[in-house]
């Protein structure tokens, strides 16, 4: 019996309207109190290519991606063979038997429903026939899985509020599929949903939407961006939320400015200009955009201008796999731009953290006066996640950092934009227009002295560069600390992970424990690394660094920044573009431990 523990997969053609129908199923399961993790696996085109939608339901809360499909909704002849092959023995395939009649695998149960025939009987227009076929299979699934049809009906009614015709037609389609199934098959299957309360007060949201909301709550007022998958929906979410919550009541005017820039160089340039001028500003991009922003990031680092950049990572290098997920911009973001530079990075692991870190990022950027890059990825950004509710402390004020107003300027003898007054490496700034006589300075990317004056004096420049290191060190104590999988360290083996990979880790740790491999885990949340990161590593003989790139980029960063012997850090690399699974992590670690080569055979007791 696979009650509330299964993986459902839809194979469709993109542009057929399937994603909405599939999401409806995922949300309905969630509404029944079962944690779900939907993954939309879509091609880099608009219409006509194979696309998949996986829904993992797990009452235990194991929401990493999982191999082995329990029920396949096989709607795409193009990908049929692979789709059928991916079903676990004992699993099911739902298909449209209007067309397909015969079958190869005997260890799975085919469920043929004449979807096309049923739907075409009722609907005439081609567009409707296509769309209502999707809704019809939702009805079929409702029957097969035992989904509360009332929930589905309510969701449809909510979605089309005010359009009674649409509601009626959708409900009819739903019923067509459901009734046929209830009449024809023994329902529900052993793969099934039962109402539960395993989700608590969780919500379901995409990371990009959560980040956009975070920007709203962080008081971001200027957003400049250039479309690129998978970051586009972040800017669009911000725009959507602003148009709802940032309109001046009296005037109908906007308390926000969003510009679709002509490219990524302009996008970050605008954000920097706004940050320089005292607004909270951000941009969002992915892969190629990161490379294009390098020069400006160096300027913001050196001229010390706060700016927030969301990098929704995708498969690289180059244009790469634009609709697949990776964590492969770690090095290029940490050290973006020529010359000696380093940037503050945040690594959210789920949408709730996208929201929180968005807020954190603006505070940090202004507090430290430097770019802060939020390193999300396609998996978090564009998939709905079951995640804790979004929360902020309403009493927490924006931390605008060290900004002098006119009185503040009056109080200082001589204002020096780059003076380290407090010994923490962070100087004071002031915004243009603040004071008629004092505080005007000249921001520049050229070498400058403590008064922002141009200098070619190498020793002055060394002084400024060393202060920047001091400042970065201060950031170490301001960034979010890592979190641990256990209350205390007990094992000789450790595991470090970050970002979306985290979804698979609890399950992987359990699998490893089952194999008698005990591993402590730590989740990184920021760069620079707080001191406890090195402590964790040194407290373990070997530490696995799980990451979604080929080159072990986070491992490099750890070695380099913590001065750690590389021999301690064992790379666990998964970079095929799909969210990692607990099985794969477990296998790689077990292999490393078992073969004793990389991990030195230090299997824990």
């Amino acid at each position: 019996m696979k009650t509330n523990e299964f993986v459902l997969k839809f194979a469709n053609v993109n542009g057929s309207g399937s994603a909405s129908a599939n999401a409806l199923v995922a949300r309905a399961i969630f509404r029944m109190g079962v944690p779900v993790a939907p993954k939309n696996i879509f091609p880099s085109n608009i219409q006509g290519l194979p696309t998949w939608f996986e829904v993992r339901a797990s009452a235990r809360g194991y929401l990493g991606r999982r191999e082995g499909i329990d029920l396949m909704v096989a709607m795409n002849p193009q990908s049929w063979d692979d789709d059928i092959a991916s079903i676990v023995p004992g699993g099911y395939v739902l298909y449209d038997n209007t067309f397909i009649q015969k079958f190869e695998r005997s260890d799975i149960t085919p469920i043929g429903v004449p979807l096309t025939r049923l739907v075409n009987k009722r609907f005439e227009i081609p567009r409707e026939r296509q769309l209502f076929k999707n809704v019809a299979y939702v009805g079929v699934l409702a029957a097969l899985l035992g989904i509360d049809v009332g929930i589905l009906e309510e969701m449809i009614a909510r979605q089309f509020r005010g359009k009674d015709d649409a509601i009626r037609a959708n409900l009819e389609a739903l019923a067509i599929g459901r009734n046929y199934t209830l009449e024809t098959f023994d329902c529900p299957l052993d793969v099934r949903v039962e109402a539960s309360d395993a989700v608590g007060d969780s919500i379901m949201i995409e990371g990009n939407a959560a980040a956009g909301l975070g920007c709203l709550f962080a008081g971001a007022t200027v957003a400049a961006w250039y479309p690129i998958t998978p970051s586009t929906s972040l800017a669009e979410a911000f725009e959507r939320f602003c148009s709802r919550y940032r309109i001046e009541e009296e005037t109908g005017k906007r308390a926000y400015a969003i510009v679709q820039a002509e490219d990524e160089l302009a996008a970050i340039g605008m954000a920097i200009g706004a940050g320089w001028n005292g607004a909270r500003a951000f941009t969002a991009t992915s892969g190629p955009g990161i490379s294009l922003m390098g020069e400006f990031l160096g300027l913001a680092y050196f001229a010390e201008i706060p700016v927030v950049l969301f990098n929704i990572q995708r498969g690289g290098p180059s244009t790469g796999m634009p609709t697949r997920t990776q964590q492969s911009d770690i090095i290029s973001c940490a050290y973006a731009s020529h010359g000696d530079t380093r940037h503050v990075l945040l690594f959210p692991a789920d949408p709730a953290e996208c929201f929180e870190f968005a807020i954190e990022a603006f505070d940090l950027a202004e507090r430290v006066q430097t770019p802060v890059i939020v390193m999300s990825d396609l998996d978090i950004g564009m998939n709905d996640w079951t995640t804790r509710p979004l929360a902020t402390d309403p009493d927490r004020r924006f931390d605008r950092g060290k900004v002098l107003d006119a009185d503040g300027l009056d109080a200082v003898e001589r204002f020096g934009r780059y003076l380290d007054v407090d010994g923490d490496g962070i100087p004071y700034r002031t915004w243009p227009g603040t004071h008629p006589e004092k505080g005007a300075f000249f921001s520049r990317g050229t070498s400058h002295d403590e008064y922002a004056g141009y200098t070619e004096d190498g020793t002055v420049n060394v002084r400024v560069m060393e202060r920047l290191l001091r400042k970065f060190d201060t950031a170490r104590s301001l960034v979010p600390a890592p979190v641990y999988g256990q209350d205390t360290f007990g094992a000789t083996l450790g595991l470090i992970h970050f970002g979306s990979t985290g979804a698979a880790i609890p399950e992987a740790l359990e699998m490893l424990t089952n194999r008698r491999i005990r591993v402590d885990s730590m989740r990184l949340r920021s760069f620079p690394f707080p001191a406890e990161v090195a402590d964790f590593i040194l407290a373990h003989e070997k530490v696995f660094v799980v990451e979604q790139n080929r080159d072990g980029q986070m491992r490099s960063l750890l070695i380099n920044e913590c001065d750690i012997d590389p021999a301690r850090l064992v790379p666990i690399l998964i970079f095929d573009g799909f969210p990692v699974t607990a099985t794969r992590v477990t296998e790689l670690i077990a292999a490393a431990v078992g073969h004793g080569s990389a991990a030195g055979g230090s299997e824990a007791a």
Binding site: R254, V259, A274, S443, Y454
Partner: protein, 351 residues
Amino acid sequence: MSFVSKPRFHHPRLPRNALGLTRRDYEGAMSTLCAGCGHDSVSAAIIEACFELDLPAHRLAKLSGIGCSSKTPTYFLSKSHGFNSVHGRMASVATGANLANRDLTYVGVSGDGDTASIGLGQFAHAVRRQVDMLYVVENNGTYGLTKGQFSATNDRVSVGRKGQRNAFEAIDLAVMAIQLGASFVARGFSGDKDQLVPLIKAALTHRGFAFIDVISPCVTFNNHFGSTKSFEFVRDHEHSVLATDYVPYHETITASYAEGEVIDVTLHNQCRLRLRKLDSDYDHGDPVGAVRYIMDRQAQGEVVTGLLYLDTGDDDLREKLELTSRPLNSLDEDALRPSPEVLESINASLR
């Protein structure tokens, strides 16, 4: 916040403007440009314009890219905040600054290399957006700071410092700005203060994107706006002495002529630049006519100066974006952050 500027002690005889300030109050650091560089004359004109307009300097922000021209914001208005950004990207930085605080006046200074080569895309899109700013190109047809390569505004027939011919079509930035919908487009000459100061004043008070292409000769790598003879001429004369790194001291070139007139200005390289000042009956309101006029005169070897195109009707970027009248950088938690209840309702909608 509002400020009353406190005048410093001044020589009593210096003339003062309505703010009680003298021209000195609008000056900047000492220029490090070559003696006689046209760019210094443009700085002087900006100073004069701001003085005459009674602008409070701290309410103006000056931005630039990289180049000799882009250095100049250091040399005027030392009470204004400045931002010397990166090569060719001033326009985007100015756009962002503009959105952050709608209440300041923005002056961007750029070069022809900075704008017409690496910065062409950003320039064009700032025009399209009608960013409310004065955008000045100090156009010398060359890359001054990197020592005299041709720029994209360089005349097709010119011959460069090393004797190469420029075989490429020149980009006329004023024509391009008109085409792309700038609402104020003018051309001036660095040496003609009488024309330039009023143009700058008009541009500073214009709402929307105001572009001034200022012909500003580079006295050191003067290979622009020339006849094919110019470089040969210089080279023949310079071979008599030793240096390749010698920059002769030059006087600033000036010119003064009336509306409708044509004059020939002799540049440091001995070649002539023919300027035509627009007639007073010229129609500023016709973009197609303006382009045609400029191109026709160009075909006659003349560079038209004056206010080429003006449209006071279009919205600027802040209006297009329907921004609140309060500067965005002045808004606080109360204005920007939805209530906890809103967040709770959002959470609820996601369950």
